[in-house]
């Protein structure tokens, strides 16, 4: 059944919406690369860590070099092409972000845990074809290997909604709060200056403060990043 939220105005040029994982769907990409231009490609901290790992650099450097909006979106060049689009296509394809994997689908998720999908209107000049085969949305997701990306997006979403709830409590509680000494000065300073999107930096400080070993596995690093954020938002 179509979630009620699906009836609202969506921030996507949508061909059809309210799709679930069992809805018939298929798409044949012709690699015309039209969808890598004139787009806004959002990247969460997990996706940044994957991309940085692909390039062999830190998330700190990746954010500075390849993103806009404090690490929330990939940069586009002067011709409005994705910064990772090369002559042969995507230069980071193995670790491409979720939205690139989903295209031409969009995924919606609300606080109640509902999930639904939309089929985005194709780009002008897109040579890809939506086919009417036997495939379903869930097959598309499997083929695009999105499972870890969805886990990451949902876990960061949960944190986001916690932060929003905290803000909605009003500034009175913040005003009366004493400074907490449970975190180091460096940790608090970084968090308060917006550096928390930088997974490597946040986890490094979190580990140093608690004498934990720095995790090398990206999934483990993400969990520690989320622990660090959780600690920070719970502090008065």
């Amino acid at each position: 059944m179509l979630p009620p939220q699906a009836n609202r105005t969506q921030p996507l040029p949508i061909r059809r919406t309210g799709l679930d994982r069992q809805t018939p769907f298929g798409f044949s990409c012709m690699r015309c690369l039209q969808c890598c231009q004139s787009k806004k490609i959002q990247v969460n901290p997990y996706e940044i860590a994957r991309l940085a790992g692909n390039l062999g650099i830190t998330t700190t450097y990746f954010i500075e070099r390849y993103t806009t909006g404090n690490g929330s979106c990939l940069k586009f060049d002067d011709e409005n092409r994705c910064v990772f689009l090369g002559p042969q296509g995507c230069r980071v394809h193995a670790d491409r972000p979720l939205v690139c994997r989903l295209y031409p689908l969009g995924r919606h998720r609300n606080e109640q845990g509902d999930e639904w999908f939309s089929e985005i209107e194709p780009e002008t000049g897109c040579r890809g074809e939506c086919d009417g085969g036997e495939g379903k949305v869930e097959n598309w997701l499997e083929n695009q290997e999105v499972r870890r990306y969805l886990v990451a997006a949902d876990s960061y979403l949960k944190l986001l909604w916690e932060m929003m709830a905290l803000l909605e409590q009003g500034e009175e509680e913040v005003e009366g709060a004493e400074e907490s000494d449970t975190a180091g000065i460096e940790e608090k300073s970084m968090m308060e200056n917006g550096g928390w999107m930088d997974m490597d930096a946040a986890v490094r400080i979190f580990c140093q403060q608690r004498e934990f070993p720095f995790p090398l596995d990206i999934e483990e690093k993400m969990r520690m990043h989320q622990d660090a954020l959780q600690c920070w938002i719970q502090q008065p």
Partner: protein
């Protein structure tokens, strides 16, 4: 003579808004990275840079900001060819490329996106 009242007032302001601003900044960035209320773009820059007596704190912008941001996550490739529509500000809707100042949205009923096709 040192104006201690002003300093005290500024310190109280900093203390009372520090956490809220840090949280707001975090929410704004994470919202954008997860496709929640893309219209929140530029809020962080705006809020942080607006420090001082004219600071845009939760009391100023909460209603619109959180009505907008406590939305759904939309994970999809978005067009970056867009306009932001600020509705209900005065008698007309206003279309802008980015939100750079609180005065642009103060008193508005809704902020929506309009995409070029």
């Amino acid at each position: 003579m040192l104006d201690t009242t002003a300093i005290k007032r500024r310190n109280i302001m900093n203390k009372s808004t520090k956490k809220a601003l840090a949280l707001a900044a975090a929410v704004t960035s994470l919202s954008a990275s997860l496709g929640v209320a893309q219209s929140a773009e530029n809020w962080e820059t705006h809020e942080i840079k607006g420090g001082g007596s004219g600071i845009v704190g939760p009391s100023d912008s909460h209603a619109i900001k959180w009505n907008e941001t406590k939305g759904n996550s939309t994970q999809g490739k978005l067009s970056n060819q867009h306009k932001i529509v600020i509705e209900g500000k005065g008698s007309n809707s206003v279309k802008v490329d980015t939100i750079k100042s609180s005065s642009q949205i103060k008193g508005a009923n809704a902020i929506k996106w309009e995409y070029k096709k």
